[in-house]
Structure formats: C-alpha cells, structure tokens
C-alpha cells in the first residue's frame, strides 16, 4: 500500500460518520435523479417502505401460482422439487424442524421482496405487481395466516403479523 493510501485510509477512519472531507477520492460519481433511483430500487423494508402500488388476494393468486410456481414448489406449496413453502407449523423445536414461510419467516414483506426480485426462477422479473401481491396472498393464505379474501397492498401487507415473528433475536446491532 502506498503511503498516500495509508494516509488516506487513516483519514477516512478518523472522519467516518462526520462531515465529508475534500480530497478523499476523486469524486467522480454521477448524480442520480429521483426517477433513476425509483426505477432501480426494488428493496422492500419490513415497515412496507418500497412497496409499489397494486393489490391482490389469495383468490386471484391461485392461478398465478398454478401457472408460475407449482411446477417447482408443488401443489399448494408442498411436495415440489424445490423449497417447501407451506406447513411445518410447530415443528421448529422437533427432531425435524421444517422452516417454511408459515412456520419460520418473521416478515410478510420479505415474501413480496423476494418473489419480485428472484421468482419465478426461470423468468425473474416477469410478474406484474398485482400478480406478486396475489401470489404473496395465496402463499400466506395456504399457511393459514390470512383469509382467502384479504386484499394485500402497500398498506395491508406490512400489517400482516407472521406467527414466528417474535422468535427472532438479533445477534448484532450496529
């Protein structure tokens, strides 16, 4: 490491978290507009920040699931070749803990976030927001967490309390 770099990094550590000092880097970043950020930002936070407009129910989600997910995750979220998405309630302390959305996941928002970014596996990004809300509702319904007619949208999804929510402990807090 050059003396310059060593000095630079020491300076950074000393000033981290305080105000920006001139001369740390060449400052070549290109400013992003609010529109550019909005187009790229698909992170959904547990309080619902980042959820898009749109809505769906388990009823409408059934067909989304059958057409896009069942081949790998099985009928009604069990017995597929890939992860089991339904069931396992009460199994976590047993000899065969089964971690599913219903038995394990702490936040319902995670399901929307994950399906939007990564599923269906072969064609991620292909579902419309209404379809993602609907398939999210369907999987929560199959796990006995919401009713079949419950409408999920940016307001109601973060309100869904997951059964295992209180059993998570933070091993690290900044």
């Amino acid at each position: 490491m050059s003396m310059f770099n060593r000095w630079l990094i020491t300076l950074l550590y000393l000033t981290a978290g305080t105000t920006l000092q001139a001369g740390e880097g060449p400052s070549l970043g290109t400013p992003l507009s609010a529109g550019e950020v909005a187009a790229a930002d698909i992170t959904v936070m547990p309080d619902g920040e980042g959820l898009p407009t749109g809505s769906g129910t388990a009823k409408t989600g059934t067909s989304v699931y059958l057409a896009n997910c069942m081949a790998c995750h099985g009928e009604k979220g069990t017995g597929g070749i890939n992860d089991t998405l339904v069931g396992g309630h009460g199994s976590l302390t047993s000899d065969r803990p089964q971690k599913t959305i219903g038995s394990f996941w702490p936040y319902a928002t995670t399901l929307f976030d994950y399906v939007r970014r990564a599923m269906p596996y072969q064609t991620p990004g292909s579902l419309a927001n209404d379809e993602i809300y609907a398939v999210t509702a369907y999987l929560l319904y199959l796990n006995d967490i919401i009713d079949q007619d419950k409408e999920l949208n940016a307001e109601t999804l973060p309100e869904v309390k997951m059964p295992n929510h209180d059993n998570f402990v933070w091993a690290y807090s900044p």
Partner: protein
C-alpha cells in the same frame, strides 16, 4: 537442551514431533524424509528437445488436470442454485487459485457487460450517485489477502454418523485470495451518509438479485468494493466486474456482481438473512445477523480419502482462520485429543486470512486419530463438535466450526470420524 535434542523430542503422544524439527533437520542433515532419490544419469526426454513456446494465458500442467473443484451440486432442476468446493487437500500455501475458488450461487453466474454495469449508491445519502467501472478504476485502491467462507461450510458434519467424505467435500467452501479494490468508505463518504443511517442493503446483478443488509460500521471499518482477485479482474463466478468484500464475515454477505447499495436506518430482512443464513436454536428461537465466521482449522493432509503409503515421517499440514482476526496458535493431536503439540505457522500470519500450519509426525503404522485446534488472537478456541452442537436446533448447519478428526487406519486409509 541443545537444538539437536528437540529435533528428536516428541512434542505430544503417538509420534507428534517438535514443530521445529524440519527446520533443524535441514541444518543437521540427519533425517531422511520419504522423498524420491535424485534422477539417474540419463537425460530426461524433455531435456532433449526444445520446449513449447509462449502462450497468452497459462494453465496448469497437463498432469494436474485432476485438481478440480469438487462436490458440485445444485437444487433439483437447476444448475445455478448450489455450490462447488475448493479442493483443499490438493493445494498448498494459503492463496487459492481463482479458478479453484469455491462457488455458491443462487441463480447462476450472470454474463455482465462491464461497460453497461453501474454501481448505484442511494437511500439515506446527501447525493445519490452512480459509478461506472471505468470511473472506479480512477479511485484509490488497496489490496488485502483474506479468506472468504460460506456460512454453510462443513454443514455435512451435522450428520449423526460421520459421512465418508474428503476434506474438500466437507470443508471446501472456504478460500483465500488477494482482493484489490476501492475501500467502500470512500464511496459512501462521497455520497454523504446521513446521520440516522445504520445499515446498507447490497444487491447483486444476478438473476436472484441477491440482497443482504450490512451494518454501516462494518462498511466503514474494512469493507472493500473488490475489482481484482489475485491480480486479475474478478472471475465471473466470483462477482465480475465488482463485488462487495466483507473480511471475516459469512460469505453470502459479500454480495457478488454488486450493482446497488441502499443506505438505510434498518435492515431490509431479505430472504437470505431471515429464511436462510439465520441460526435456529433448540428452543425454537433463531438468531439473525450472526456475521463473523468463528475460529476454525482443518488438517488438509493427511485427510479423508487420502492414503498414507507406509509408516515413517510425514508432515501434517492444514489451514486455520478466524473471522475475528489473526490466528494465534494451532495445536495438533495424533491420539484423538489426549495430547496436543503446537504446530508451526507459515508467515506472515495475516488478519482474517487462512494461516497454513505444519507439524512433523512419525506414523508408526498403527491406527491414529488426527485433530487440529485453532486459537485466535482474542483467545477464542475452536470448539469440539459436542459443544458446538449443544443448544442448536436439529439440522442448523450454518457456522459449523468444530474440530475435525481424521482416522488413519492400519492400512493407511484416512477417513472422517467423530470423537
């Protein structure tokens, strides 16, 4: 005691010799190792004709084609949702050749055009910014030789009965490289992190858009936006053209193909930090954010699947590492943990890097159980399998860092055992 005395003095039971023996032996010239004698008088064939010419990108000898990543597996019906493992017992030193660095992907290796790839930094910052690779090449960089370990490494050792596996199959989700890139702190400072920010959410440009929340204190401490691995641009399987590198922390957080950082006040609770990469305990509670990889070591030679040819003098060697810092010492046992001898450590011992340990052993031909135990600079001691498993839920396989035992049979075959 003179120097020559300790050369021949056992350091622990069942043939373990003083770690300084090999060093002393060279000076004294008194100990014959099991190596081939110098070649005979005839010139070997390859000295009798001119060799091949230069080429633009080298590859290993044609006699080394069996040195390959092993244990390649993917979820049913997929090719890119799984892992491949570093062949630890076929390598030496501490740096892993880039082409043999283990892989763990969640939906394959993306084919990223570097000219179109951008890193976005936004969220709780004064100035949301975008960086091209060309731009980043002009930033001050630094290099570090450090390990990366998948949090699921060694998980097969949860099996109630020991599986007949090699060292690589069991422990090959760890590797070390020289990582070169821009300290993330420089880029975050340029964007201007707001006072209420505590986390960042990193996202990859793969088909899984892998996403993890990272505490900002780690980002400002030693996080790197890595652009080079072992001197060349990062390989596609390791995040080309850029990845996050978080020294000592579970590999999944060092998001590959990094294309977006959102600065936040809270963690995003992504699938890969809640459903996966969290640790279920036997009482039904689960721990989130168990970031550092624990102190660990494994004997890579002799190890599972290898064969000791005949009794005699051998060098036991292996790797030790800790996500919390430097390795302080490694002890080796040849009698199933009854007695321990201190191993020599290859220098330099670097923080959060693999450390190569070595110790001489005179195998008498009888069955023996070999073990290694690492201690880091903070005094953390590698746990036994039994103490590690206590309090864990059944099947909770992340962060397995227990002592590995290898059984050497009478016939010289080496296998995985529990003690």
């Amino acid at each position: 005691m003179t120097d020559k005395d300790f050369e021949m003095t056992p350091a622990a039971g069942n043939g373990l010799m003083d770690r300084r023996m090999f060093l002393g032996a060279t000076a004294a010239g008194g100990i014959s190792m099991l190596v081939a004698q110098p070649a005979a008088a005839n010139r070997p064939a390859w000295t009798q004709t001119p060799g091949k010419g230069m080429n633009s990108y080298g590859s290993p000898s044609r006699f080394e084609t069996d040195v390959q990543r092993v244990g390649i597996g993917s979820q049913a019906g997929t090719v890119g949702s799984g892992a491949s493992r570093t062949p630890l017992e076929q390598l030496n030193g501490v740096i892993t050749p880039s082409g043999l660095h283990f892989e763990r992907h969640h939906n394959g290796i993306p084919d990223i055009d570097p000219d179109q790839h951008k890193l976005l930094i936004h969220g709780l910052v004064d100035r949301p910014l975008s960086f091209s690779l060309e731009t980043l090449d002009r930033y001050p960089m630094t290099s570090r030789i450090q390990f990366l370990e998948c949090s699921g490494n060694s998980g097969a050792l949860l099996s109630p009965t020991p599986m007949p596996r090699t060292c690589a199959q069991l422990h090959g989700l760890v590797a070390a490289s020289e990582w070169t890139g821009v300290p993330l702190a420089i880029l975050l400072e340029e964007a201007g992190v707001k006072p209420e920010a505590r986390w960042l959410v990193a996202e990859g440009a793969d088909a899984a858009m892998m996403s993890r929340s990272v505490p900002l204190d780690k980002a400002f401490d030693d996080a790197l936006l890595a652009l080079y691995q072992n001197g060349e641009r990062i390989r596609p399987s390791n995040g080309y053209p850029m990845r996050l590198f978080l020294p000592g922390w579970e590999g999944n957080m060092s998001v590959k193909w990094l294309h977006r950082i959102k600065v936040t006040s809270e963690p995003a609770m992504t699938k890969d930090e809640t459903s996966k990469y969290s640790d279920l305990l036997s009482d039904g509670t689960a721990q989130l954010f168990t970031f550092p990889m624990g102190v660990k070591s494994v004997i890579t030679n002799p190890s599972g699947g290898l064969n000791m040819s005949k009794p005699g003098l051998y060098q036991i060697t292996g790797l030790a590492w800790s996500g919390a810092g430097r390795i302080n010492r490694v002890e080796v046992s040849a009698d199933g943990g009854k007695s321990w001898a201190q191993a020599a450590l290859d220098q330099p011992v670097l923080t959060k890097n693999l450390t190569r340990f070595r110790t001489p052993w005179r195998w008498n031909g009888a069955p023996a159980t070999l073990m290694s135990r690492a201690v880091d600079e903070h005094g953390s001691v590698q746990p036994t399998r039994e103490s590690l498993m206590a309090g864990r839920a059944k099947g909770a396989f992340y962060h397995y860092n227990a002592i590995q035992a290898w059984r050497v049979g009478e016939n010289g075959e080496v296998g995985n055992v529990y003690v």
